[in-house]
């Protein structure tokens, strides 16, 4: 038995990475938008002055966008 014998791909399923990308992109935009909206009136959390939702939401948007672009279903 060869280690590289691969089962035939029976289905053409959209890669799970595309769904991961859609989810991260949507969440990134929501969190980034929320962070920008509260910029001048941040919540009462520790280190709120660092505006974590803005950079964390931005990071999610970038990663999500990259996954969507790379794994979008080909027609």
């Amino acid at each position: 038995m060869d280690l590289l014998v691969t089962n035939m791909e029976k289905h053409h399923i959209i890669p799970v990475w595309f769904f991961v990308g859609v989810m991260l992109l949507a969440y990134g935009l929501l969190i980034l938008g929320s962070g920008l909206a509260e910029w001048s009136n941040p919540p009462h959390t520790v280190l709120a002055e660092l505006h974590a939702p803005v950079w964390w939401g931005g990071l999610l948007t970038l990663i999500g966008g990259a996954y969507v672009a790379a794994f979008r279903p080909k027609t």
């Binding site: 060869d2 799970v16 989810m23 929501l30 941040p42």
Partner: protein, 560 residues
């Protein structure tokens, strides 16, 4: 809804949670068209890549009870809790990938009881399948109830609302897409958990001015206690907050419990069996091991940071008075400390996703074991494939209904369900003895395998009950009166494994073995282990296993 809650969610947070539910249901409906044959429904068509199988393998274990519980344990025991992610996981994951996976994969088994059927025949397989199916479905109920309690305490949600909404969602998506759905959602959950939780240690270390600042503040808050060394306090059970000796960690946890869990618990092994080829199946647990080593960043580190920054000391479950928080509240407290609207929704969604993925994993494994290891061999042998798929879909729904019953049972008898949860872990210690002897020793016989598994399982239950009814027996089983529950668990698993192995060997030597021709593809020495051919070093599973092992050693040295 109640008014007592630790966290209040805003519209953005609720939108994030609703979006998650819509997404998993949508994925379930989309995948239904691909889950038509038995192999598709129960084994995701055996066409997953190493990365998908590896992340799913890890996520099946990275549930929310795990996150909340271990963050609480790290507040209680310090960095000792990281052993469950390092020596208590990595060697076993590498062993599964390199040594055991070829036998599981070449035998084309659909489950761990399925392997026992091929190797030992129906008795050992049925014993393992019945205990697994029963415990899995009860565990799903325990998970469901635990989720509902967390959602009530943290968010003030109604318990019945949480149980029914999560069960219906899981039921719909697993019954639709089978293991495809479970695996896809586990991969989503993996990303959610990392992105939902990683911000806590990042902001925590900024607040404490790094690791050194954190250690200094812990020493200030808890003078005379050592929470940040993983091995140097294990020389004596009295020197560490867990009451653990290093032999319990190395032999009980590293050699038995983790080996049993990671190599024979079908809930996790099923994910790797879905890999598209043997190389992917070998690589999947190795890929998982790198991320497993990193999980303490989002689970253990938040607990340590909490020791440094939380103004009030947390207390054990059961001894909290009004206004006090328990160890298990660490993660929600840290979320509330650092996360505002949006981020909070992401963190809560990660917890919800973890709970639901746990339920989905349990019911998908249950439906496979019931259909293939109990229904087909004992109730209806030669039905068309479509009949078994239909049985699998119905089993998912029936399994969830039983789980809901178990969740309501847990409300009335919480302690009984705690026992179920504890015992479940220890059924797998003797099972590991049975599987590993079957794989590595040609002389093991069907009678030996069954007798060993039975004696090992009964002894595990017996030791558990003896200590419950006579706490003084703890010093015999755990070799110290200082042993806490975790130390007791380690030693109980070790003894039940040793008993299983001894009984299996003795009975095997007294009974007639199978001819070698019947062991091909099942046992080391009777099976041609596939060659890795002319693969470049960087593509060989053994190379990456070596890198993971080296990294593990490095981590032990750093946090000694």
């Amino acid at each position: 809804m109640t008014t007592e809650r630790m966290i209040s969610l805003g519209p953005v947070d609720l939108a994030i949670i609703v979006l998650y539910f819509l997404m998993v249901l949508g994925i379930g409906f989309y995948l239904r068209r691909f889950a038509q044959s038995g192999e598709d429904f129960f084994l995701a068509g055996r066409e997953m890549t190493a990365w998908v199988a590896g992340l799913s393998f890890l996520s099946a274990n990275l549930g929310s009870l795990e996150l909340l519980g271990w963050a609480g344990a790290s507040y209680q025991y310090g960095i000792l809790a990281a052993h469950w992610y390092w020596i208590g996981a990595i060697p076993a994951m590498l062993f599964l990938g390199i040594v055991m996976m070829p036998f599981y994969y070449i035998s084309k088994t659909h489950s761990v009881p399925g392997y026992l059927q091929l190797r030992y025949g129906p008795s050992a397989s049925a014993l393992s399948a019945i205990s697994f199916a029963l415990m899995t479905i009860l565990m799903s109920g325990v998970n469901m109830y635990a989720m509902a309690v967390v959602m009530k305490v943290v968010l003030g949600w109604n318990i019945h609302f949480s149980i029914w909404v999560s069960s219906l969602t899981v039921g719909i998506y697993v019954a639709s897409g089978g293991l495809f759905s479970a695996i896809f959602n586990e991969v989503l959950q993996f990303f959610l958990i990392w992105f939902g939780a990683l911000l806590i240690p990042i902001l925590g270390l900024i607040e404490t001015h790094g690791w050194a600042g954190m250690v200094a503040r812990i020493q200030q808050n808890f003078p005379g206690q050592d929470f940040t060394h993983a091995w140097s306090t294990l020389g004596s059970a009295q020197d560490n907050p867990m009451g653990m000796h290093w032999t319990g960690i190395v032999f009980g946890l590293g050699a038995v419990i983790s080996m049993g869990y990671w190599t024979t618990d079908f809930l996790v092994v099923q994910r790797v069996l879905a890999a598209k080829d043997l190389r992917s199946a070998k690589l999947a647990p190795i890929i998982g091991s790198f991320f497993k080593m990193a999980v303490p960043l989002i689970v253990i580190l938040p607990g340590l940071i909490a020791l440094a920054v939380l103004p009030d000391h947390l207390v054990p479950q059961g001894s909290a008075i009004a206004g006090q928080h328990t160890y298990d509240d660490v993660l929600p407290l840290m979320m509330a400390r650092y996360m505002g609207p949006g981020l909070l929704g992401l963190g809560i969604t990660a917890l919800v996703a973890g709970f639901m993925a746990g339920m989905a994993g349990n019911v998908s494994a249950f439906s496979t074991v019931w259909t293939y290891d109990l229904y087909r061999p004992f109730l209806r042998k030669a039905a068309p494939d479509a009949h078994y798929v239909s049985m699998g879909r119905w089993c998912t729904i029936i399994g969830l209904i039983i789980s809901i019953g178990a969740a309501y049972l847990a409300m009335g008898f919480t302690s009984i369900m705690d026992y179920v949860q504890a015992l479940f872990s220890f059924f797998i210690a003797p099972l590991f003895g049975t599987v590993i002897l079957g794989m590595l020793w040609k002389r093991t016989t069907a009678a030996g395998g069954f007798a060993g598994l039975l004696v090992g399982t009964l002894s595990s239950v017996g030791m558990f009950l003896i200590v419950k009814f006579n706490p003084e027996a703890l010093s015999l089983i755990a070799m110290s009166t200082h042993a806490k529950a975790m130390a007791e668990d380690m030693y109980r698993a070790l003894w039940s494994w040793i008993l299983c192995v001894l009984v299996t060997i003795v009975v095997s030597l007294m009974t007639k073995p199978k001819p070698e021709s019947e062991l091909v593809g099942l046992v080391y020495g009777a099976t041609a282990i596939p060659s890795e051919g002319n693969l470049p070093l960087i593509q060989k599973p053994i190379f990456w296993a070596g890198v993971a092992a080296a990294l593990l050693v490095l981590l032990q040295w750093i946090f000694w």
